[in-house]
Symmetry: C2
Subunit: 373 residues, 2 copies
């Protein structure tokens, strides 16, 4: 049952995947980013995503796509989620397969549905602003377009992709919808500053809202084999044949991001619009972000989180400490530090180098230490 303010015919899709390499060793294959409370909210990012999106669709209209290894953890975080709405990936096949599977299953269960895909591990404080943007995006989707929600940047971030908007759309119910000139990869600092100055560039938050059938059409146009595989799996999903078909077809699906398969081609064809979102948003992509999201005053603090009662003794130190191991952690005279202390791995770096954590993960994988990844 949808709650009173739910949007009729709207289904929320929450892809809950990804390891979050830049948050290693906090985020792991076994305990990925979306299962952690990284913002001090008291809830996991997944739970916060659920709470934020459920009012838009109703609890029985939310589908979570996740790996088989995380089924129990997801159901524990989201007891209201019906088991039928957990779509399990036997192995990760990237976002086109994940969102495409959801679109194909939803289209068969509720033909004509509009889906909205929102990552399980992002952070938004302004729920009302987010809801308004989604409602506009649904209005855009109702015209047959794909809508994305772009976030008005508040800083020249180099960790995000950008959407170059070009204004000019007049869609009823979507006053903030604009056309899209192009998608831009993560820029360097100079380019990011230029983007910010023009006001024409929005952060690509990876939020897509469209009729499920339209998503599937674009997958079929760009990647017909992938689309055929998804269709075969979706046809079998709610039947006894599911396990056999998934086991046979899913592992062969192409791993490719939905931005390349759907969003960029649709934008190039004029079939995609962006809703300018003025709410706060963060992809909680690295430890610098975690530190920022925990700041409650002018900064300069030491942010400590993780564990029941972290035992941190610090003098003249700033930065962020994730204290999971239960050990006593002492810091002296160290600025903007990032310390992540887990049972089997320790990371020490600075906020400045937060984006480089992924390279350590790569180095550990290459050196055969994947047991700590």
């Amino acid at each position: 049952m949808a709650v009173s303010s739910a949007i009729p015919g709207f289904v929320v899709v929450i892809p809950a995947g990804g390891i979050g390499s830049r948050l290693w060793p906090l985020s792991r294959a076994e305990a990925p980013k979306f299962l952690h409370d990284l913002t001090g909210s008291g809830h996991s990012l997944l739970r916060d995503t659920w709470d934020r999106t459920v009012p838009l669709a109703g609890a029985d209209q939310v589908v979570v796509v996740t790996g088989v290894a995380h089924e129990l953890a997801v159901l524990e975080e989201l007891p209201e989620l019906s088991a039928a709405n957990v779509l399990l990936e036997s192995e990760p096949r990237d976002s086109t397969a994940a969102i495409g599977l959801a679109a194909a299953v939803v289209e068969r269960r509720a033909p004509g549905a509009i889906i909205g895909s929102f990552s399980a591990d992002h952070f938004i404080r302004d729920t009302a602003g987010f809801h308004q943007a989604v409602r506009e995006a649904v209005a855009v989707a109702a015209t047959g377009r794909i809508a994305t929600i772009g976030i008005e940047p508040t800083a020249p971030a180099v960790g995000y992709g950008y959407i170059h908007a070009n204004g000019g759309l007049e869609i009823p119910g979507a006053p903030n919808a604009e056309g899209v000139r192009s998608f831009k990869e993560k820029p360097n600092r100079t380019t990011a500053k230029r983007y910010l100055a023009t006001g024409e560039y929005l952060w690509n938050a990876g939020m897509y809202v469209a009729p499920a059938a339209v998503i599937l059409e674009w997958i079929a146009r760009s990647e017909p084999e992938l689309a055929a595989g998804l269709a075969e799996i979706a046809d079998a999903w709610d039947t006894a044949a599911r396990d056999e078909v998934v086991a046979r077809v899913w592992p062969g699906l192409k791993k490719v991001a939905i931005d390349y398969v759907v969003a960029e081609p649709a934008a190039a064809a004029g079939a995609l619009a962006v809703v300018r979102g003025s709410f706060d948003w963060d992809d909680v992509g690295d430890f610098e972000a975690i530190s920022r999201l925990h700041q409650t005053d002018a900064g300069g603090d030491l942010v400590v989180f993780g564990g029941e009662s972290p035992a941190v003794v610090a003098e003249d130190s700033t930065g962020v400490v994730f204290a999971q191991s239960g050990r006593v952690i002492s810091l002296i005279g160290i600025k903007d530090v990032v310390v992540v202390d887990t049972e089997d791995a320790l990371l020490v770096t600075t906020k400045e180098h937060a984006q480089r954590v992924k390279s350590i993960v790569d180095a550990l994988r290459l050196s055969g230490r994947s047991e700590v990844l």
Copy 2:
């Protein structure tokens, strides 16, 4: 049996005590500094001290004073040490009690012996230079004086006390012996630079060489109660009454450093000489020292030690890592760092702040976390 080059009538005393608070959490009450290999020699500091001093006296002329908790560890490190030459302190009572006990026991076993006291947790690379200085100090002691060995400073160190030498002694066999004007506490940087420039100031390495009876006379002059207690214990030491007397008398002995009780009063009375030692010496007092002692080239390296095969993955990082817990340790872009990773405690600081580690230990003690000390 003394080896051929041993000095007749000379007994080495090795006080093996002290927690080494500035080396926490590596050095602990249960595993103090002298039991660790902190210099990359492949041996504990205690073992290196033994190897360095035994040729001067012979293996059966070396006495180790240590806490009851460390008896087994000491005997494991020094299998050649006879059990009778391990003097156990039931609780720490500072250096006057420790060295005074050794002096009193040695004087009873070998009246007229000259003892030389050398800390168990210091570092010397130039063993020949050390031996030469000790032989000169014994020559000084043979005149009835107390000799200390002062180290020619190579840098304006602020972590050491200094001895102000004033030249002018003509003692046979001790060409480098000088009179002592005064002892100086740890100076500030400006004063240390001035000390270095004059050439008159030597590092106080806490090495004392004197007839055991002379040491005891000075203790009796400064602290008669303490001297009486030590005499009572020493009288009982090699008898069946030892345990009873120690249990009754030792805990009441005054805790005071031998510098104040013996060295400074003797210097003021003109009864103490300093042998100018030009060998290298380090008290391995903090993590900056450990880093320095491990440097094998021009510096800028990351020094990793501790554990069987430390798993450290570092990018653009310098400093020192003590990796004892067996966990994977990753460092990114962090300079002059000190990371000490043990089972129950982690320290992150910089070499610049190495001397401040003691304040963390104090804070932990005050906050009731003494289980990690």
